[in-house]
């Protein structure tokens, strides 16, 4: 039992030692490297799959080691949890020690001040008490105490307590930062949704189902999302002639809180870098693209119109690809089976500014200057009734292979142009409208992350700027009307520059003492520097 205790104590001591903390810091840096070099699931799921497919030997192993989710992996978590335990174990005794030292009086002077690396002696005229008062007065701002031992007066002074305070604040702020980040991850959520800029119905963030993609912390079950409704009236983008964008903005109306009951809408201009902040949540403009509108006129003259987002394939020119599926109007076929076999599907490319090489469509500019599409038109079963999920942006190639969808035409269409299929169906490309990608984010703890980051930096600055210094002054009467002054000093941190600092201090301490000789300086380095300073 005792051995077990000893073992535990030793383990604890090792864990909280500085050497271990250094090794853990090093491991933390090392562990983060794969997070920068390998694709990460949290950033791009698709790239991870691609990487695993391209590296069949090493990929699955890396996956098993959670190298694609480094920052939530067991080993990365282990490193930082150990580091923080080590930090608490190291800092708590220091905190107690610091609290104690704040109440303690500065330590008594060592017997022989001349043994200190920096010391100074002088003979001054005046009474010991008067000199002591002057010196003590010059040490204002230092924690100081005077001890009298017979004839001899000793002044001990210490400063720089804030350094340790800053140090402790810095480290405990790191702990606070970690807790705040973890709380944000537990209680926060974010969702993305595409909204077409046609003043249409928009969307409400009341349920995860309203989003195209939704990521949430473990405590979020989706039942108590903060409801924000918004609709997009218009989207503006400005481009340089080179195609580089210079501004994006979306005119939106939103309602949240009590507006939802009165159904009143508030306008807002949503921009990149200018999110809408409402009720502690944030709404961002994250991206944009185009949603073409097609109208299909079925052989019985009935029409169906659809506007659906295409996925931008080229971020500069906004050449986009996508697919659309049209159901024939009810009643045009007596049999639901027959009706399903006569669905119309469109798949192809959309260019906001048409550029043709023969019939090959590409886009020359991201603005909606000369919209055009190059599409394949299919007839048959789009497969939506099967219940199997399909990509929004492409048709299921299996349906085409199985001839359940057959290609009826391949056409290039400009806005307003139409094409007629064999059976009399007319497909018209009407035009396109922009859509925007909206993100709604909720993180109740992020303000605390900021607070702790700032206290962390404040503590760091204090601990780097403040220096710990100790000085002792011993005053011994050396005859009638004269006092022998001994000064000694110790730099407890930041030794560099302490020599000059002590000399300046010694001069200052004896500045108003009558009959004090100038402080001698030691070492030629100092002489040089002083000489230079004097000349300047």
């Amino acid at each position: 039992m005792r051995r077990l205790l000893a073992y535990a104590r030793n383990t604890w001591r090792t864990l909280t030692s500085m050497g271990t903390a250094l090794v853990l810091l090093f491991l933390l840096a090392l562990g983060a490297i794969p997070g920068a070099l390998l694709p990460q699931r949290s950033l791009n799921e698709f790239k991870v799959e691609q990487y695993i497919a391209e590296h069949p030997t090493i990929g699955p192993w890396l996956d098993r080691l959670q190298a694609f989710e480094v920052f939530s992996s067991f080993w990365f978590t282990a490193i930082y949890v150990l580091l923080f335990i080590s930090l608490v174990g190291c800092l708590t005794p220091r905190l107690i020690e610091h609290a104690r030292s704040l109440r303690a009086t500065p330590v008594a002077a060592p017997r022989n001040l001349s043994r200190l690396p920096k010391h100074h002696t002088a003979e001054v005229s005046g009474g010991a008490d008067a000199v002591a008062a002057v010196v003590s007065d010059h040490l204002r701002g230092w924690r100081r105490t005077a001890r009298k031992d017979g004839e001899v007066t000793e002044i001990s002074a210490e400063k720089g307590y804030l350094r340790e305070f800053g140090n402790i604040v810095f480290h405990f702020s790191l702990l606070g930062l970690l807790v705040a980040v973890a709380a944000g991850k537990l209680f926060g959520y974010e969702g993305n949704v595409i909204v077409i800029a046609d003043s249409g119905p928009g969307f409400c963030s009341a349920s995860p189902a309203a989003f195209d993609s939704f990521r949430a912390g473990n405590t979020v079950d989706g039942t108590s999302l903060y409801p924000i409704c918004l609709r997009v009236n218009d989207f503006h983008a400005h481009y340089l002639p080179s195609g580089q964008a210079t501004s994006f903005s979306a005119d939106i109306d939103y309602q949240a809180g009590s507006d939802l009951n009165t159904d009143s809408w508030r306008p807002y201009r949503l921009k990149v870098n200018e999110p809408l902040r409402v009720g502690g949540d944030r709404v961002y403009l994250q991206g944009h693209g185009y949603a073409p509108t097609f109208t299909v006129t079925f052989p019985d003259r009935q029409t169906r119109t659809q506007t659906l987002q295409f996925r931008p394939e080229d971020q500069i020119t906004l050449l986009s690809s996508g697919a659309m599926r049209f159901d024939p109007p009810g009643g045009s076929y007596p049999d639901p089976d027959e009706r399903r076999k006569n669905q119309i599907a469109i798949q192809g490319l959309f260019a906001p500014t048409e550029q043709l090489q023969g019939t090959l469509l590409s886009s020359s500019f991201p603005a909606l200057n000369n919209p055009a599409v190059a599409v394949d038109i299919y007839k048959g079963d789009t497969g939506l009734d099967t219940g199997l999920p399909q990509s929004l942006f492409s048709l299921d190639p299996k349906l085409i292979d199985q001839k359940r969808l057959t290609k009826k035409a391949r056409v290039n269409l400009r806005a307003g142009q139409e094409t007629r299929l064999d059976d009399g169906t007319v497909v018209r490309f009407d035009n396109a409208v922009p859509f925007i990608n909206v993100q709604v984010s909720h993180d109740p703890a992020q303000v605390w992350v900021l607070v702790f980051a700032l206290t962390m930096m404040a503590g760091l600055l204090v601990s780097l700027v403040v220096r710990r210094r100790r000085v002792w002054v011993r005053l011994t009467p050396a005859g009638p009307g004269t006092v022998s002054v001994e000064l000694g000093g110790l730099a407890r941190t930041d030794n560099s520059g302490w020599g000059d600092e002590f000399d300046r201090l010694a001069r200052r301490l004896l500045a108003d003492v009558p009959g004090a000789p100038a402080v001698r300086r030691e070492g030629h380095m100092n002489t040089q520097r002083e000489a230079k300073a004097d000349r300047a």
Binding site: F26, A32, A36, F71, L450, T493, A531
Partner: protein, 354 residues
């Protein structure tokens, strides 16, 4: 192409200033390297004494160099240098030296050219800003220029004492490599920035990060030289050309102090840079931290420098191990600058060559 909102004339002047800066800095590097390679082994004291008094003449030397080129500059500096003996604080120590050794004159001319080069780089940055009417750090080219400028300023402050002149060679080498890469491969026409960068955080975040990176560069150089000095090459009784050069560097303690002082300055600056970046990311990307490659490597660099500061106050880690950690931090910064922006694809990619 991007003629809108851009002062073409000013942008061209900026490009000329960039080229001039590189040319002048290369000349400076050559002169300083000549001094480093050929200077006779003088005693440290005498070098110090002579140097302290001449420090004041550098300003005028720089000014002349701008007008007459390097040859004239050397001559000009030496005119005033002759007064050294007179204003030395400790007469009797200085042996009256009517003419300076040639290598020292060459070194001083080199240093004067360094200041001229810094001036040109500043002109390049300022003119870019005026040409585009935005802060001149909106892409990789401009960012690297600003970082080099910060590094040069940090070096000018840290190495202002004449006995540190030899260190300039080792600062100029990485700076010139960076400038060459930025001018040759990363050059971007003066243009407005994309919407994601149109934020008041651009001036704040990028300039602070750039300042921190530039100062870390000086720290990294000092640590590498410290390690050289501590290595067998720095031992006094070995022979060889490299050894002679290492012997001319300031002593290990000085190098260590330069590394430490620059690091404790840059560490909080870079920390604030990352925090400002996080605040901006919350505004632009919807989250304050998302382990984007750039964020990740910044985190690695920051942790490395934190480890350096801890190592400095831990027995058994103080000297060489600490210096190695500082070099690791420096490598992380360089890696962050190039690899992350040019090879991987992340949210910071627009700062690249696109």
């Amino acid at each position: 192409m991007n003629t809108e909102h851009v002062g073409i004339g000013l942008a061209r002047f900026s490009d000329w200033a960039f080229t001039s800066s590189v040319v002048v800095l290369v000349a400076a590097l050559l002169l300083l390297a000549v001094e480093l390679a050929y200077s006779r082994g003088r005693k440290v004291e005498s070098r110090e004494l002579v140097g302290a008094a001449t420090a004041a003449t550098f300003g005028s030397g720089a000014a002349t160099a701008a007008t007459f080129g390097s040859g004239a500059a050397t001559a000009a500096t030496f005119g005033s240098g002759a007064t050294v003996g007179a204003d030395s604080a400790t007469p009797g120590v200085v042996a009256a030296e009517p003419t300076r050794p040639l290598d020292e004159r060459v070194g001083k001319a080199g240093l004067a050219l360094v200041y001229v080069g810094i001036g040109f780089l500043l002109a390049c940055i300022v003119l870019r800003g005026l040409a585009t009417t935005r802060v001149p750090w909106g892409n990789m080219y401009e960012f690297i220029n600003l970082t080099c400028f910060s590094g040069l300023i940090a070096a000018a402050v840290m190495l202002r004492r004449p006995q540190y002149r030899a260190l300039w060679v080792f600062v100029l080498v990485p700076v010139l490599i960076l400038l060459t890469v930025s001018g040759r491969w990363l050059y971007t026409n003066a243009a407005p920035v994309m919407p994601a960068l149109q934020s008041y955080w651009l001036p704040i975040h990028v300039s602070v990060v750039s300042l921190g990176s530039g100062v870390f560069l000086v720290a990294g150089v000092a640590s590498i030289l410290f390690l050289l000095k501590m290595s067998p090459l720095g031992a006094p009784d070995t022979e060889g050309a490299l050894t002679r050069i290492v012997a001319r560097l300031p002593d290990a303690q000085t190098l260590d102090r330069i590394a430490y002082r620059t690091t404790i300055f840059a560490f909080p600056v870079f920390g604030f840079g990352v925090i400002f970046g996080a605040i901006w990311a919350e505004e632009a990307w919807g989250r304050y931290w998302g382990w984007d490659p750039k964020e990740t490597v910044s985190f690695i660099a920051w942790v490395s420098y934190a480890a350096y500061l801890h190592a400095r106050s831990t027995a058994g880690w103080r000297d060489k191990k600490a210096a190695w950690i500082n070099v690791v931090g420096f490598v992380a910064m360089v890696f962050n600058l190039f690899f992350i922006n040019l090879v991987t694809v992340g949210l910071h990619s627009y700062a690249g060559v696109g």
